[in-house]
Subunit: 201 residues, 4 copies
DNA sequence: TATGAATGAGTATTCATTCAT
DNA sequence: TATGAATGAATACTCATTCAT
């Protein structure tokens, strides 16, 4: 029937099922059945289930994310401009892999046992470091962390809004940029946290 | 040894393990072993594994969250003040249940198959509706959604910051309040993110 | 049906099948089927397949062999009398576990990967050390090693002889004793190896 | 790379792995991998796994052993001289195939299911018949059987002795010859087994 | 309140083997 | 001479759950 593209087809179905039903709940039997092949065929293409999921990350986000990081690390110290451009680029790169981002977000517990999970976590950490100032106040760290989270979660949350994925991405990017902008130039004198929502005013 | 409080002890260990290793990866055998009882003992106290996890949500967040919702629904239409107070209250109520919040956040895929997952999702949705304006722009919806996410994730993220949990909670609350304030009815001039610096102008 | 003795029955059937068909070729499914229980029942009584086989060795030969060793080590330096008594005792102790001895003998390759295999090997080594003189000539080492081997293999070899197991055991013991006797008092001048059958004459 | 000799190389690696890890534990995948070819390549050269192992026996011991048997059967009735010469010749022929002998010895259970195993067993039986007198006492049968066993096992046992393989072979041959000599001409009056190691003196 | 013993359905993974190219 | 792709049957093991005691 098909030829040469089986590996790709496995990845496609796997990603779909992983995102839909979760990593642990998705068995290789299901994937194989949905593909119309035997379990053993999967094992011809991927050594283990972990290998399969790893391949998804490698092909879809690890590489792209690394490019962003490499680009960013080349222009340290990091200006606000750079930070915002990191957001732009990262947003672009994950927007091509929405199901995987959703999967990553919703299966953190499962990913923790997987080495690729560690790798992703490390990337996130690096991005966060690049985005936030070294001596940033805790609330500014939260802002930056939240910026990243927001870009992830907006890709699959807000289903009720009826918005398309590209719209959502742009909106999330906007909010993320605000958060990071707001967190920039660190320890500027700021009025009391609880009440003051108006900053830089 | 213990008497009468076994149910409680089961819940404690279960929560700890669920949060640490994930829902699917945590078997009833492990819980029982760590408790020094038989699996069958768990079944005396909880009808199923789902029952056990459900009980955790009911005891720790469903009730408290409902109180917030009830309180908020009683004072519609929702002013900014109310919105911010919702954040205050919700922040307070989840801060007592950090491991469960972490569990919820990191096991969304697993929870989706559980009825208690649906219930939690419904609460989140309701809170979101209360926080955001009905006809809010997409970016404002993102802000509000992000506000909620932020309060959740900050409780267990940012490990590297060395901050205590109460500090983090406060910082997250601050950011959440800003986001919601910013999303509220709009025409406040805000310093520029990329394009839309001037909004609702 | 049965109660309390399931563990024992598992061991019985397992030993029978292990001895008959070999360790690797005997699956837990077979054992369970022959017992009329589910595989899972086996796992209630033994944590792994290795555990099951280990229990057989522990119950049937490790203990008894250790007794022989302890007894022997208590009366060093080892006289010929002691050596011969070691053979007597060891012969007695393995004669109660013929199928296991056969299993051990015929599945050495499989046992090598099992920790209980190492343990048995260690015992054999110790017995050998006790039986042979420290500075024994190579041929005397062969004699002693052969004595042990003989006692093992005679329990299940020589099927064609039609002899009963107790007869075989006695015959093997006799030969083993000769071999060890012949190997005793070390570097006695001996005429040319190839032809010399008359030693100690 | 290599050409024409692939079959040989497969046999070499296979023998090595079979001897090292056992028949069942050695998969064709491993063999192929270690050779740098595909599993399918093995199947070009050997119809089945059993075929592969059979070829090893045929090339290395079945033929040589048959020569010994043919030679011996030609000079019946069997004198002691002939018997000892059988040992000499058999010792010589197996000394060229130590890994295979070890493999045979340590994988008897696995070989029992293989037709080549039956064949080898038949040879051993024939050799035994040639070596022992027809109406030999049981203990003499044990002696002869033990003689054979000894020649096999000494090739790979006694690692701790530090002796070379040729030395070991010679020592084993010596012991085997003694055993067979001792077993020869059967019902000679013999003093009480317990003490007498010196027979035919 | 608990346990001991068991089940049925499932999991990931491995293996020898086949066959078109 | 080989390979790439696949299969069918098996394996050890785990899990949530049940129930008589």
């Amino acid at each position: 029937m098909s030829r040469g593209n089986t590996r790709q087809r496995i990845q496609d179905i796997a990603l779909e099922l992983f995102a839909e039903r979760g990593y642990e709940k998705t068995s290789l039997r299901e994937i194989a059945e949905q593909l119309g092949v035997t379990k053993a065929a999967l094992y011809y293409h991927f050594r283990t289930k972990e290998d399969l999921v790893t391949s998804l990350f490698e092909d879809l986000v690890l590489g792209p994310a690394d490019e962003v990081i490499v680009w960013a690390e080349a222009r340290q110290p990091t200006t606000l401009e750079t930070k915002l451009e990191i957001l732009n680029r990262y947003s672009a790169c994950i927007s091509k892999a929405t199901p995987l981002v959703r999967f990553m977000h919703e299966n953190q517990a499962a990913l923790r046992e997987l080495s690729v999970g560690e790798q992703m976590k490390a990337r996130m950490f690096t991005l966060l470091e690049l985005i936030k100032d070294e001596d940033a106040a805790l609330s500014d760290q939260v802002r930056c962390s939240s910026a990243l989270f927001t870009m992830h979660s907006s890709l699959f949350a807000l289903e009720s809004s009826g918005a398309g994925i590209e719209e959502k991405r742009r909106a999330a990017l906007e909010v993320a940029r605000e958060l990071v902008t707001s967190a920039h130039h660190g320890p500027a004198p700021r009025p009391g946290a609880e009440t003051s929502s108006a900053r830089h005013g």
